[in-house]
Symmetry: D2
Subunit: 138 residues, 4 copies
Amino acid sequence: MGKLVRFSISIEERLLSSFDELVRERGYQNRSEAIRDAIRRQLIHQEWEVGEEVAGVITLLYDHHRPGLSEALTQIQHHALPQVISTTHVHLDESNCLECIAVRGEARTIEALADRLKSLKGVKHGELTATSTGKKLV
Amino acid sequence: MGKLVRFSISIEERLLSSFDELVRERGYQNRSEAIRDAIRRQLIHQEWEVGEEVAGVITLLYDHHRPGLSEALTQIQHHALPQVISTTHVHLDESNCLECIAVRGEARTIEALADRLKSLKGVKHGELTATSTGKKLV
Amino acid sequence: MGKLVRFSISIEERLLSSFDELVRERGYQNRSEAIRDAIRRQLIHQEWEVGEEVAGVITLLYDHHRPGLSEALTQIQHHALPQVISTTHVHLDESNCLECIAVRGEARTIEALADRLKSLKGVKHGELTATSTGKKLV
Amino acid sequence: MGKLVRFSISIEERLLSSFDELVRERGYQNRSEAIRDAIRRQLIHQEWEVGEEVAGVITLLYDHHRPGLSEALTQIQHHALPQVISTTHVHLDESNCLECIAVRGEARTIEALADRLKSLKGVKHGELTATSTGKKLV
């Protein structure tokens, strides 16, 4: 955690009371936490837009019975060693696998890697979750 | 505009400086305006989730040469008089039309109306833009 | 409408039966229409990503009592004459206005215009709805 | 893989040629694969909307120096044993942690669990990625 500073904002009374209700419903401890959350969300959105170094998770759902698929998934990940941090494999049932691949790197490279994995034949669903290395988010 | 109040929030110094950069880049006049914007966005999201009275815009792209389509669009809108406020028709070229339908009503009713219009044969693209009646947003 | 062609796709039987259920629930007339819809959606997404000529709707919610706001909105739109096609103004109640601005132009220019309008002080909510000129969507 | 069936769809010639371009650019092997992908995406969307049994990944970015946070994260996950399948922890740098939590259960329960984890003080960013158990996706 970095040094804390305080600043004040002005807001219409009724808007604030609606916001306070929202803060309670979402389970935030206080307004500051909810606002910091909104700020960090916007910063992450921009890190990806500008193309900085980012972190993310590639989620894949696939059937491991599909011939050649597991090999293809492994091969692509091995060719992306600088980006792939770790892979968790979950056996959902006798056919369906859920794979969570934690990645890190330049935004465009990560997007291209996710596109390659998602478009493999036999991958039923793939999603890239964009997050951050956290450096600028303190 | 309602009565203005002020409150202060605590935030890490580095997070604040990243945020200030974002505020400048997006063209906001000051931090308060950017934060109020984020708050209003979350409130609108919730008005739709909870199913309150909302406002919105249904955007349709279609080819007016498609037989029966214009009639169907008009008929559906006439059967949704309580929800449809106004319709603007734009001639994009000799075939393509852009229609913006301003709507207001209970969230689920508006969603059902948008679904009906979007799924008509000949509608190339349809989108429901969720906004608010503004009452709770001050 | 252009010339119609047919092609066949192979699909798992159970996936098809789940899809047929979806087609019925969403109110599509047949599978072809649902699939064409999905295809057009992806094409529009790409027109915006690549930065081609696009069409869209800027939705604004604001309080017309805010001093100087109406003038600012009008002025920005007048400086964007090549992009702005038409503006519909809806009086939601004695304070709240809903404005739907139909726009057309190069994707980045439209995004910049929407950003300027949305970040004006007093605009409670702004949204850019991305659609297409329809040229490539047949 | 289930039994394969074929069906044909009709589509405008120009729309098909735009789609073929898209299929190439995204790296799909053929049209069928791209269309099955779009169909599965819509089915997943509906599994979550209707509230069926789903699978997902909760991505969390946080600073492990924050007092009490690691304990809180662990405790919440232990109270959600039926939903939490596995957790992968990645050390991004000396402060920042990336956590991928593979989950499975009824959609509303999963959403509530994600909300609890995301709103914890010190969690810089949290995201729930919606996927499927794959049962209906064949």
